[in-house]
């Protein structure tokens, strides 16, 4: 990360990333962990808050930017990645982190998710996956387990779970990880690596909704998750990553699934208009000569 301004005078601390507004999530919500760890990761990475843009959609999880001290955007449900892409292209020196929920990113926003990975826009996408629609008070989500009873599926969910990690692998995403809000140390490492990865980085985080998801609780996750790092998983191996990505049963892996050993150049490295200064710092308008030449084309 090159910085827009002179080096910050003092070492950054977690409190530098805390907004004045305290989080209003339900006590015990998994999103607290996601937020706290992100604040730690950004402090350790020494990203000046004003060069950091955190963009979210709409959902409980998407309230995160309001509790995080940096530039923030609380955009539309499902549209955070699109908004963030525009902002990143306008100023590619910003560190851009997108945060949201499973409904936001894997439901209504799924198209942007897949295309952003394909497009390889250089940002970090953190999904607080609670396998439920929290803010709208508990309906089924694309990541809800089959059979799950929710307000909109009182007879049980009839659909198969969407698999964000497998989709990410199929879409050319270069950094694919899954964390658990109940395992903050492990999560922090994933954040730090993901933010530093020179391309689109996905971090799906199990972040329990204590109010509406009575099935995938902290307890349930603790029972099920294991760390890939403990099993000698090779994150440079696409096939191994796919095998782990489709694993969902008695045991569910967390950790770094895949890291492209030869990262593709991200979009800002390729677009001719983005070479050198970011667009927002480029000189204004066109020269008289440029303008004349444009008009000449029509004559």
């Amino acid at each position: 990360m090159t910085t827009l301004t002179a080096a910050t005078p003092r070492k950054l601390e977690v409190k530098d990333f805390k907004a004045d507004v305290p989080p209003d999530w339900c006590p015990g919500c998994g999103d607290f962990g996601v937020l706290n760890v992100l604040q730690k990761a950004c402090a350790e990475l020494e990203i000046p808050p004003h060069e950091l843009l955190v963009v979210s959609g709409i959902g409980c999880s998407s309230n995160l930017p309001g509790f995080f001290r940096s530039y923030g955007v609380h955009s539309l449900h499902g549209r955070a990645l699109a908004f963030a892409t525009g902002a990143k292209l306008a100023n590619h020196r910003l560190t851009v982190i997108v945060t949201g929920g499973d409904g936001d990113g894997y439901g209504i926003g799924l198209n942007h998710f897949i295309q952003a990975m394909r497009r390889n826009i250089n940002l970090t996408y953190i999904v607080m996956n609670n396998e439920i629609y929290g803010l709208t008070t508990g309906q089924v989500s694309p990541t809800s387990e089959p059979g799950m009873v929710t307000k909109s599926t009182p007879m049980g969910n009839l659909e198969q779970m969407l698999n964000p990690l497998a989709l990410a692998l199929a879409s050319g995403c270069g950094y694919i990880a899954r964390g658990f809000s109940g395992d903050p140390k492990h999560l922090q490492k994933l954040y730090m690596d993901g933010i530093q990865y020179p391309g689109f980085a996905l971090i799906d985080v199990f972040s329990p909704c204590v109010t509406f998801n009575k099935q995938n609780t902290y307890h349930w996750f603790r029972d099920h998750v294991y760390r890939l790092e403990d099993k000698g998983h090779d994150p440079t191996n696409f096939h191994a990553a796919m095998d782990r990505a489709i694993e969902w049963g008695a045991k569910i892996p967390i950790g770094l699934f895949y890291r492209n050993p030869n990262p593709r150049p991200s979009l800002d490295k390729l677009d001719p208009a983005l070479q050198g200064e970011p667009l927002v710092l480029k000189p204004r308008g066109l020269t008289a000569e440029q303008r004349r030449a444009l008009v000449e084309e029509f004559m």
Binding site: H74, S75, L76, N111, A273, L286
Partner: protein, 625 residues
């Protein structure tokens, strides 16, 4: 027609090269100082069908495509059959005599001009479009213009292929000379002038004006008739340093564009109604976030997919009703191709100053229409004024804050609050689509509070109170105390201008009010102007009278008559003249114009339609209607 102008019709199937023949001819005459206005009526197919381009040429620049052709270039048999009978006395019909011949007697006084293309351009055997070059050369001669113009056009068009230049120039010259030797020139002859012209489409002007207004981000999803803005932008992206992206859908288009604007650059996007529908949610986002953005809706004939290659002014309701709730936004419709330039210059200025969406309504007629514009028009660029935007500086300097905490949505008197963009030190805030307080903190959550809520709605609404000061007055022309006042908006300006002239010439005193800004509406000016009117007739290219409704809603003024058209084709001056006469004669209050020239008879190969009478041929066909 009493102007010194000529209308040339060029017709053929998709793939026959109608548009490029027209373009060559237009450029050739423009380089000899002739003004041109071209309208291409085409279909949504890549091959086949009937493409019908009308090119009006005059030293005194034409403002519309007119209503009666003087000359015809038929690139296929179908075109000759369809349009030969539209020519009047003195008219000429050019065609490749080796391929086609008239199916019926031409109207009286019409000169048939068969061109023996294989002789004049031997390469036409391999390259059938050579026939177009021959015909264009011949037409130029009949118009009374020089060959030099055409030669230079061919040279620039094929600049990289000298061989192609040579064979085309030869073919064109052969046509030119053959016409001189064998045909009578057109009765009205054009004379070269020294005026310089740029031949542009509305879409090109919209794009170029944006680039000149410092637009650095353009994002699109292809959609007719807006796609050419993307094409122009993409072609110039590298050279001008504009980030141009085609993305997955119009939802991402508008969100990315707002994102780019949020981060401090000027960004624009364009689409047509169907894509605009998908953009509406985010336009409301820009409204509450107070992010500038310029979004263009190039209307085509609806509803839904409708008639994608046809023009209409049917999306006013849609643009007006974009997104839920009340939020500040500006809506403007350019009135002509050159006006696109000024409108976009103003749009960016207004978007930055008022930190709100500026929605531009163009239509197929303007956007895909081709017109010569005095290049001086493109020198009227507006100084780039970013309003109260606080941008990051390359050297990382901290902007002054007077020691006060920065309030992104400060409740100022003007309603406008200084807008820092990400990257500026010391101005952190969250921009939210939820209602928020001056500091950006949500008041939609635990802090809901009617007082704060109302304050913020009022602040945003207040912004709009000074917009009117920056708007050019509505266009008004003609005698003050006229019998009839024609009122229009958007692309009908040119055709109305000519209709007004003709009506006045015919003894019906008529004046003309043309509205550019739909929101905010210039209520006082319009009420004043129309208050004096004796008979108000609104002309618009849609079925329900969307503008008439808008006018009534804004001013209370109900028109005395309406001339509407929604058959896909644009108005021609004669439609308006006849419509006004019908209204004055008490024939109807609403005149729904239909383009019923015999040339428009359709062949319906499926034969499944109830009222299909089969392919009529020759004179019989021209007579049956």
């Amino acid at each position: 027609m009493d102007h010194a102008n000529l209308i040339v019709g060029i017709g053929g199937a998709a793939g026959d090269g109608v548009a490029s023949a027209g373009n060559t001819l237009a450029l050739a005459v423009a380089r000899q100082g002739q003004g041109v206005y071209a309208y291409n009526s085409y279909q949504s197919v890549i091959r086949g069908g009937h493409s019908w381009l009308r090119l009006r040429v005059s030293a005194q620049k034409p403002l519309n495509h007119g209503d009666q052709i003087d000359a015809l270039i038929a690139l296929n048999q179908d075109t000759l059959d369809r349009h030969l009978q539209e020519l009047g006395s003195g008219g000429v019909a050019l065609y490749n005599s080796a391929k086609i011949k008239p199916s019926y007697e031409p109207p009286q006084g019409v000169q048939l001009c068969p061109l023996p293309v294989p002789e004049l351009a031997p390469s036409s055997k391999e390259l059938p479009v050579m026939q177009n070059t021959v015909a264009v050369g011949a037409m130029l001669r009949l118009m009374g213009l020089d060959f030099a113009g055409l030669e230079s056009v061919i040279s620039t068009t094929f600049a990289k292929k000298p061989k192609v230049v040579a064979s085309n120039v030869a073919a064109a010259k052969a046509g030119f000379d053959y016409a001189g030797a064998h045909f009578q020139p057109l009765p009205r002859q054009l004379k070269p002038t020294s005026q310089k012209w740029a031949l542009v489409t509305g879409n090109e002007v919209l794009a170029m004006s944006a680039a000149m207004a410092d637009c650095k981000f353009y994002c699109a999803y292809p959609m007719s008739p807006a796609s050419a803005i993307l094409h122009w932008m993409a072609a110039h992206a590298k050279q001008l340093g504009i980030c141009v992206r085609q993305v997955e859908d119009e939802i991402s288009v508008i969100n990315m564009t707002i994102g780019a604007n949020h981060a401090g650059v000027r960004g624009m996007c364009a689409t047509s109604g169907g894509g605009f529908a998908l953009m509406t949610e985010a336009i409301g986002m820009a409204g509450i976030m107070e992010t500038p953005v310029v979004a263009i809706n190039v209307m085509r004939a609806g509803p839904s997919t409708g008639v994608p290659t046809k023009t209409e002014q049917g999306d006013l309701n849609q643009v007006f009703g974009a997104s839920q709730g009340d939020y500040p936004r500006i809506i403007v419709a350019p009135i002509s191709i050159p006006d696109c330039f000024a409108v976009i210059q103003d749009a960016f200025f207004l978007a930055d100053r008022y930190q709100c969406p500026v929605l531009v309504i163009s239509d197929l007629l303007i956007s895909e229409g081709n017109e010569t514009v005095d290049p001086a028009v493109f020198e009227h660029i507006r100084e780039i004024d970013r309003g109260e935007t606080i941008l990051p500086s390359a050297n990382g300097e901290l902007p002054a804050t007077n020691g006060e905490p920065y309030l992104r949505f400060k409740n100022t008197e003007s309603g406008i609050s200084p807008r820092a963009v990400p990257g500026v030190p010391g101005h952190l805030y969250v921009a939210a689509t939820d209602e928020h307080d001056e500091d950006g903190v949500l008041i939609s959550d635990i802090y809901t509070d009617p007082v704060r809520r109302k304050k913020m709605v009022d602040k945003r609404a207040r912004k709009m109170s000074t917009v009117l000061e920056h708007l050019p007055p509505p266009l008004f022309s003609g005698p003050a105390d006229a019998e009839v006042t024609l009122v229009g908006w958007g692309s009908t300006w040119g055709v109305l201008t000519e209709a007004v002239e003709r009506l006045n010439a015919a003894g019906i005193t008529t004046n003309h009010l043309h509205v550019r800004y739909l929101v905010p509406f210039q209520v006082r000016e319009v009420q004043k102007l129309l208050g004096r009117s004796r008979r108000i007739i609104i002309v618009e290219n849609n079925q329900s009278g969307q503008f008439a409704r808008h006018l009534r809603a804004e001013t209370g003024i109900a028109a005395n008559g309406h001339i509407r058209k929604y058959d896909g084709e644009p108005f021609e001056p004669k439609h308006i003249v006849a419509g006004v006469q019908d209204i004055l004669n008490g024939k109807a209050e609403i005149v729904n114009v239909l383009s019923t020239e015999p040339g428009w008879r359709t062949d319906h190969p499926s034969g499944t339609s109830a009222d299909w009478k089969g392919r009529l041929s020759g004179i019989a066909r021209a007579a049956t209607h």
